[in-house]
């Protein structure tokens, strides 16, 4: 049922694995190594088909909206996937980390009248700290007690309620706006224009996503994180100080979630349901990218954002979130290891 039930592991197949299986793993490994390339291929193909059907302008316009949405999903998913993969925690309170970040930014940006950049920085730092605080007070002790998957899952739902309604208790449920110019648009030529906020979201999102990718790919910490997500016991055996990596994972997941919350708050608005409303889409990106696969989550978040916004070309826009959920269910049923994942325990 859970990981370990299936003996296949990522990496070169050993033992009695058949030739066909080996080739399959090799192809999957290639895809896993270059998720951006695979995603790019798929997305370009889809974009061309849609452009032929609906015209280039509409595809470009909805595509840009999709990238803005997708950067938020990607930032949310990269943290969720590492926590899911490394700690085997299906964290339903991850969305509330986004909400928390958005409210911290609101506090600095609107209540105290400081620049939004400072608000975003504070959101990243404080949400990262919140992630660590919950690890120290709840998740760590529960893991030490050998808590099961469902037990932790229900606990995370309880925590989600506590955070979301705690925020509502303090700040009220009214819908708030960050100090951003929502009316300013930037014309990109060819009749395509984009809201300034969306443009900033795309730029910030992409810069951060590239930076995250580089950290995970090049630094020792990133390699250790990915090693833990891949196989915790093996990583421990290899001498990795897992408790330190767990700490950094939460800092990383919390920080990314905080930033995603600020971006989501800037593009839409700030309200207690902000994070929970994004959670299922973030789960979709996490599963689409393969659980524990940070690069997969980054690529899948962007792909999901694009697919959702492109779907508005032929489906009533009010159902676009349902498109994301249908994608989620389809991926779970057809390819539960994610489009970029290798066939491992699912």
């Amino acid at each position: 049922m859970e990981s370990g039930a299936a003996p296949t592991q990522r990496g070169p197949s050993r033992g009695p694995a058949s030739r066909a299986r080996l080739a399959d793993t090799r192809a999957a490994r290639l895809a896993a190594g270059h998720p951006a390339r695979v995603a790019l291929g798929l997305v370009v193909l889809l974009g061309l088909v849609l452009a032929a059907l609906y015209g280039l302008r509409d595809v470009a316009q909805t595509g840009l909206n999709g990238l803005a949405l997708g950067s938020i999903y990607a930032l949310g998913a990269v943290g969720l996937t590492l926590v899911y993969g490394i700690l085997k925690l299906v964290n339903f309170s991850h969305g509330e980390l986004l909400t928390f970040g958005a409210y911290v930014a609101y506090l600095l940006n609107v209540t105290l009248g400081l620049p939004l950049v400072l608000g975003a920085a504070a959101a990243i730092v404080s949400t990262a700290a919140l992630g660590v605080a919950f690890e120290r007070s709840m998740w760590g002790p529960m893991r030490a007690r050998g808590a099961g998957l469902l037990q932790l899952l229900l606990m995370s739902i309880g925590l989600a309620f506590l955070i979301r309604y705690g925020i509502q208790l303090v700040a009220g449920s009214q819908i708030r706006q960050l100090e951003v110019d929502r009316t300013a648009t930037v014309s990109l030529g060819g009749g395509v224009s984009l809201g300034q906020t969306e443009l900033v979201t795309i730029v910030v999102g992409f810069l951060v996503l590239v930076a995250i990718g580089l950290v995970l790919k090049l630094t020792l910490l990133g390699k250790r994180m990915r090693a833990l997500a891949d196989d915790l016991e093996l990583a421990e055996t290899a001498g990795i100080d897992t408790s330190r990596v767990v700490l950094y994972t939460w800092l990383f997941a919390g920080g990314c979630a905080g930033l995603a919350g600020v971006l989501a708050g800037a593009v839409t608005d700030v309200r207690p349901e902000l994070g929970f409303g994004l959670l299922l889409a973030i789960f979709a990106a996490t599963i689409l990218g393969g659980i524990g696969d940070a690069f997969g989550a980054l690529a899948a978040g962007l792909v999901l954002g694009l697919v959702i916004e492109w779907s508005t070309l032929f489906i009533d826009f009010r159902y676009k979130l349902a498109v994301g959920f249908v994608v989620l269910i389809l991926v779970l049923v057809v390819r539960p290891q994610g489009i970029f994942g290798s066939a491992r325990a699912v």
């Binding site: 099961g148 229900l154 606990m155 506590l162 309604y165 509502q168």
Partner: protein, 335 residues
């Protein structure tokens, strides 16, 4: 008034509510009964079959909306629409279960939650059919569905007055109907659990591979478990609509599925009577906050109520994963 008396005032208000019949019948009683029905389905799924169904609010929505659309829009009678709506909900449960039940526990949870959210999104946006966010306007006389239920209520009210109760509790008929249904459901489920069918469900929960090795079609049993659970959710949906006099998307948020899980672990896993106890305790905790004279607004009070739900879930999962009255050897979420 001494300072102490002032401090004790909120407590006094709470204790006053405990003697208030309308609190126990109309506020806690009816709602707790509805959630007991709702969570009995979860108990069958989680406690006895090992299926983590997070889509129960979606099934409840399908039941309530089917009933509403059949009666209000299609003009079916109340009593004819009810079995049809239950059949529709069970069919929907099977439709979701066919792909989802093949998944491992965490994926099943996410997939069923997503399916419930799809239902809610459609309820919000398919305005012609569901009335959108405003909800489905119920019958012309203001009573939900048609006047069939209103007639029963008036008849019961008349009997009570004839018996000499000068001002009977208006929600008493609904209260009785809900709890009779709960009692029947508990009895039926408890009996079914003792049949060979029920024993196979438990075998699947304990070790699905072993059940399969003995020649049992585990998937079919899980599908049946989910279908029965969705029928119970549909019943809960009918009563919810009668209680609130409307059917609106906000009544079917994932929040309510999670309250159902709170009820489940409060009452203890793998115990049907426990569900009824859990529902009463949960709604007494939730509704009790209304009566504590805290200096906060209605919105904060609502927030506080759901914080309590969160706290209950966290504490139970941390310290008693088998639930307050659950049997540790029978079913523990910690495995």
């Amino acid at each position: 008034m001494t300072p102490l008396a002032v401090d004790m005032a909120p407590l006094a208000v709470v204790l006053g509510a405990l003697w208030d019949a309308s609190f126990w019948i109309g506020i806690v009683g009816v709602t707790a009964g509805i959630y007991a029905l709702f969570a009995l389905g979860l108990q069958l799924n989680v406690g006895y079959t090992g299926i983590v169904n997070f889509g129960q609010a979606g099934f409840m929505a399908i039941g309530a909306y089917s009933m509403g659309i059949l009666v209000v829009k299609a003009g079916l009678s109340f009593w004819l629409a009810m079995p049809v709506a239950i059949a529709i909900t069970m069919a929907f449960g099977v439709l979701i279960g066919l792909p989802a039940l093949r998944l491992r526990a965490d994926y099943l949870a996410i997939a069923t939650l997503a399916s419930a959210e799809i239902v809610r999104l459609f309820a919000q946006n398919a305005r012609g059919l569901t009335g959108g966010n405003q909800g489905l306007a119920c019958g012309p006389s203001g009573a939900c569905y048609d006047d069939a239920w209103r007639g029963i209520e008036l008849a019961v009210d008349g009997w009570l007055r004839a018996l000499g109760w000068s001002n009977p509790e208006p929600l008493l008929p609904l209260f009785v109907a809900v709890w009779v249904t709960v009692a029947l459901a508990i009895a039926a489920l408890t009996l079914v659990q003792r049949t060979p069918w029920g024993r196979v469900l438990r075998a699947i929960r304990e070790d699905e591979d072993a059940a399969r090795a003995l020649g049992k079609n585990a998937f079919a049993y899980k599908l049946q478990s989910l279908a029965i659970s969705s029928a119970l959710a549909a019943l809960a949906g009918f009563f919810l609509a009668l209680n609130l006099n409307t059917i609106a998307p906000a009544q079917f948020e994932p929040l309510f599925t999670f309250i159902g899980y709170g009820v489940l672990v409060l009452g203890g896993l793998a115990s049907y009577p426990g569900v009824a106890v859990g529902a009463i305790v949960m709604w007494t905790l939730i509704e009790g906050t209304r009566y504590i004279g805290l200096p906060i607004g209605a919105e904060q009070q609502a927030a506080l109520r759901f914080m309590i739900v969160g706290l209950v879930l966290i504490l139970l999962m941390a310290f008693r994963p088998q639930g307050v009255a659950g049997k540790r050897e029978e079913m523990v979420l910690g495995d």
